[in-house]
Amino acid sequence: MTISPTNPNQLSVRDTVDSSSGPLLSVRDLKVHFPLKRGFIVQREVARVRAVDGVSFDIYPGETLGLVGESGSGKTTTAKAVIQLNTPGEGSVKFEGQELVGLSNSAMRPVRRKMGMVFQDPYGSLNPRMRAGDIVGEPLKVHGLADSKEDYRAQVASLLTTVGLSPAMAERYPNEFSGGQRQRLGVARAIAARPSLLILDESVSALDVSIQAQVLNLLQDLQDQYNLAYLFIAHDLSVVRHISHRVAVMYLGKIVETADSKDLYERPLHPYTQALLSAIPTPNPIHERSRERIILRGDLPSPLAPPPGCGFSTRCPIATEACSQTVPELKTLAENQQAACLLAQSV
């Protein structure tokens, strides 16, 4: 690829990501199933929700992996399984080479220091009875990262400055902050213990666009500054394209396509990715009105009763007979691009 000096946007993202040292996070064949039980005294499993059903991906230091999909596709369950917050999953989650599946809670604690999490709701995720300074500083106390009271205060002040808040705001309560400022507090708390991976679960979705842009810029600055890796979960594909180096598209608990961000958006290979991209209206009336949209029929099938064969076959515009019989495997169709579709051609 040629790099034109006048346009820094054309720089390959791989140039900025260090992949020599191996992945920071390596997830292999992750499965999280929730059994649905019936019965009063003797409970029998009557069905099984396959929320996450065989998901694999890597995240390198300093890299952002975008995880997109519609509600119920398993994005959040995947994130929670990475940080071991739900019922233990099957498969393997390796962080800095250490296997996390099966670790006890106390063994997980030092690992969690290195994984921060920022949630969607800037109102629900901050304790309303704690001062901003204590919210941000709590991880420092929990993990014993402050030497003295002065050191603690200095660290809190510097964290607040880092996320664009004034250190004087440490004395305030969450209700005195706006939605955007609260999300900055959430970011400050997440980076307090100097993690190497941040899990951002719809962290900018609830914000107004001008505030969303400010927080996205902050996240990019922090990544550059601290070589942070991000698992960025969102349903907004334009935001995901903006921030991600690589993107994985989920549907019914499975990754259906994964590629470098640029390739995925320029040349989506899975029909679901194509439909998702075509469903997003762009702020350009001329472009919009000349564009054909792929309108998918129906809703996401219930994960309790997924269709046989390819999970997307019930809504797919190009599905054939074979699609309802065979479960497609992810196959490499182009450099760094994999799709799980029987009909997708390699390029």
Partner: protein
């Protein structure tokens, strides 16, 4: 796309200097401060802006659904087919809602009554406004469900809202809103809570149904993409006022208010090459109880001058159908043209 509606002499809806405030412990706070706009027969108008800009309160004021107290419509006119809706009786207003103007809200779950069947909720307005009852109403209700793309409609009439998915519930809301063939449909963030593929289904459905029946559509959203695709004209609101208005082509291709420019620069765009950094509007929206002097956007504005602090700009025409409330409108649109080349 231009609206292919019949050119009628007067607009369907004329809002004139509408002012709505809310009484709060901190005193009376303006939500809409002097908003004027028209909706023509059969056209699609977009109302765009961030939370708190007054777009929803404008719509609720038109429908006279602002909760009172604490909300008060202080002054203004809402002329619908020439009749001022703010002056008619509650009873007369009820016949306008549904039969004259239909409305769809963001939350399909809380807009539908959870203990009544879908059929009951669709037939109710048919009885109130059109006098349909019994088998005739039921037949029409099934027809409406077919129209919004719900299969097996006769059986679905007996379903309760919780048996439907989010997208289906919003389809039912559209069926109810269009059941009495209103002349205007107001969709207030009607697809915001839905997944993108469902959002696309619902928007296409709404657009097709309204253009078939010649119903005017008012889309209220914070999503600039939706407006670009569906609206003929749009109003950009900030802090209770319309700051810019024009055809979609004018406002998107040659925005002239710094706030419009800021909004367009804040969103990552799939129609352009990926950029390294966004160029957001600095700061946050002002407290409506404590608006800055002069232009309310001044503290966040890159073009602000001393004049903006003392005087408030009013909407002025800069092109055939485009109006802007900014002293620096000319230099704003010129600089945008340079930057976007």
């Amino acid at each position: 796309m231009t609206s292919d509606s019949p050119i009628t002499s007067s607009p369907l809806l004329q809002v004139r200097d509408l002012r709505t405030s809310f009484d709060t412990p901190a005193g009376r706070v303006p939500a809409v401060s002097g908003v004027s706009f028209d909706v023509n027969h059969g056209e699609t108008l977009g109302l765009v802006g961030e939370s708190g800009c007054g777009k929803s309160v404008s719509a609720l004021s038109i429908m006279r659904l602002v909760p009172n107290p604490p909300g008060v419509i202080e002054s203004g006119e809402v002329l619908f087919e020439g009749v001022d809706l703010l002056k008619i009786s509650d009873k007369e207003m009820q016949s306008v809602r549904g039969a004259g103007i239909g409305m769809i809200f963001q939350e399909p779950m809380s807009s539908l009554n959870p203990v009544l069947t879908i059929g009951r909720q669709i037939t109710e307005p048919l009885g109130v406004h059109l006098g349909l009852s019994g088998a005739a109403a039921e037949y029409r209700a099934a027809e409406l469900l077919e129209m919004v793309g719900i299969a097996d409609s006769k059986r679905r009439l007996g379903d309760h809202p919780h048996q439907l998915s989010g997208g289906q519930r919003q389809r039912v809301m559209i069926a109810i809103a269009l059941s009495c063939e209103p002349k205007l449909l107001i969709a207030d963030e009607a697809t915001t809570a839905l997944d993108v593929t469902i959002q696309a289904q619902i928007l296409e459905l709404m657009k097709n149904l309204t253009s078939q029946s010649g119903t005017a559509l008012m889309i209220i959203t914070h999503n600039l993409g939706i407006i670009a695709r569906y609206a003929d004209r749009l109003n950009v609101m900030y802090a209770g006022k319309i700051r810019e208005s024009g055809t979609a082509e004018q406002v998107y291709m040659r925005p002239s208010h710094p706030y419009t420019v800021g909004l367009l620069n804040s969103v990552p765009r799939l129609d352009r090459p990926a950029s390294e950094r966004l160029d957001p509007i600095e700061g946050e929206i002002p407290d409506p109880a404590n608006l800055p002097s002069g232009c309310a956007f001044r503290p966040r504005c890159r073009w602000a001058t001393a004049e903006c602090e003392v005087a408030e700009p009013v909407l002025e025409q800069i092109e055939d159908r485009q109006v802007v409330a900014c002293f620096e409108a000319k230099s704003v649109s010129d600089s945008v043209e340079v930057a976007w080349q």
